[in-house]
Symmetry: C2
Subunit: 329 residues, 2 copies
């Protein structure tokens, strides 16, 4: 589960002991190769963190976490997975999103932290999908949101829903029929199809924009490998790539090879760019006077409505990659 | 700790399994001889429960409890102790009020339920008193609320505070000096004293009104014993009793013996009386057409501003007692 948290995990700690514990959690999470950012509570913009990360780990007492959560929680379908870990890392407690992944995240965490996961949901309550969740997994946009409620009601009752036009390798729960139309309720990626007398949520597959950060010594082979690894992790075919962007001209070579656009970005553009979901810059970046590279490049190339779906990850000592989605033509 | 929850514990369960678990919790709590009421979530007026009980146990998954809590939580000093127990009674999780007793309650509960208490507060964070808490313990009213903040700031820093004029047997933390005036900050029950250059929160001891419910066959000796037991539990001397009230005239005998007023209440008064904090009537009471007896008697006799501090408890098969506070002359 944790390895799918492409938009990253935010750790938020309150006390000094909590900060130390948070650093341990961050270190142990490295093996999952997903982005992890650790904020001190007093410095964190929780409103933004809530919107920008897939999971938040509060390292503090439950009461503190609960009182913070109460300020930001919206609904079961909108909130990120929320986990609480006490300062002594005795317990890993899923607080919100138990049915949407927080339980699995807590179990994964408890193994690497050698602590106890506190699972309080009934065993028979499995994770239930929603139309929004399906769209996220398929990296697609919902074209007719007015039908979301109807499909979600069916999903909640564990009744059959067909997902048609799936072009990726994905495992869904048993009540989801992949690439079938033998259901009354359908989520469809196919714009070439009509379904008579069915309730359909229409999805449009999104294009992805890949941002590449690299030291001056550009290692093209490493970067190419990194891009393919990232595609694999996101379960996406190469055809989904719409554009590659970098501050390094050399990266254009890869874009040419796979026949997608290339966007060269410069330092000025980067430092003028703003987006609340950007990962805070590392010390090294601050020293060289840059707000970021991979994420900003992906978002600049993806255009004004693009959204970060994979926070920057280091693919080698030299290079980082981030991925944003955008609507193609 | 649990035995001090005189205003009672409200259990709130959501699912059918939760209800069964809640009934088990209720049954096991009997040994503490404190009032316990079990509500189904769909029927519960949580706003009122939040205000009227000393502790609330949510029997459900943490996410459900958290989302409910978020609607009602106010602040560390105002909220009751909140505990969450999962439907399988595996865990007893203090959610709010960890420093004010919820941890101790959870430990007590986990022993009787044979489950695991999930304590997430740092060990060094002991329960801290507040002026309001001291007033509650001493069954007194704060006369100058404007000084509460100053005293609470000192209590929060674990600095010395004197509590002067204590007439009950009570154990306070080490930084509280009982019946001393050798502090800069004083909580005083003595209206015969002046403290020069000190910050004082003045308390006025409240009188108590004792309501007695009894079957027709009135057992005076049982009731008398019950009243003395209740005084002991509340840590109060006999002199605090201002009035005794009952639907049974025979109870006047006890009032006469200890030289306090007696108030006879009748069924009509009882059924016309309303107060949001009343314990829901038992089946037996509903059958005989009464909204309640002990609590309503105590509140009628205590007058319009009286407050329930001990929910009705059965002192024998025949009789119940409830206690309310009110301001004497």
């Amino acid at each position: 589960m944790i390895e799918n948290l492409w938009r990253g995990i935010a750790i938020i700690s309150a006390s000094e002991d909590g900060f130390k514990a948070g650093e341990i959690v961050k270190e142990k999470l490295k093996r999952f190769e997903i982005p992890v950012v650790h904020f001190k509570y007093k410095d964190a913009d929780i409103e933004t963190v809530w919107r920008c990360y897939d999971a938040i780990i509060f390292v503090m007492a439950l009461e503190g976490a609960t009182r913070i959560i109460c300020k930001y929680a919206k609904s079961k379908t909108k909130d990120p997975a929320i986990i609480c870990i006490d300062d002594k890392i005795n317990y890993v407690i899923p607080l919100l999103g138990g049915h949407w992944g927080a339980n699995d995240i807590a179990r994964d965490l408890s193994v690497i932290l050698n602590s106890t996961p506190i699972i309080t949901t009934a065993a028979e309550l499995k994770g239930k999908l929603s139309a929004e969740k399906i769209a996220n997994i398929l990296v697609a946009k919902i074209l007719n949101p007015e039908n979301i409620v109807k499909i979600n009601a069916v999903l909640l009752r564990d009744e059959y829903v067909c997902v048609d036009g799936v072009d990726i390798n994905v495992t869904f729960p048993e009540n989801i029929r992949i690439n079938s139309e033998e259901c009354n309720y359908i989520v469809s990626l196919r714009n070439d199809k009509e379904y008579k007398d069915k309730i359909v949520v229409w999805l449009k597959p999104l294009k992805i924009s890949i941002g590449v950060g690299s030291k001056k010594d550009v290692k093209i082979d490493e970067i190419r490998d990194g891009i393919y690894k990232v595609l694999e992790r996101l379960n996406l075919k190469r055809e989904r790539i719409g554009i590659i962007a970098s501050i390094r001209e050399e990266v254009k070579k890869i874009a040419d090879e796979i026949n997608v656009k290339f966007r060269l970005v410069n330092e000025e553009e980067i430092n003028n760019f703003t987006n609340p979901c950007l990962t805070p810059p590392s010390k090294t970046l601050i020293e060289v006077g840059l707000k970021g590279v991979a994420e900003i490049s992906a978002l600049i190339a993806g255009g004004i409505n693009s959204k970060l779906i994979l926070r920057k990850i280091a693919i080698s000592r030299n290079s980082t990659i981030a991925v944003a989605t955008y609507e193609g033509e």
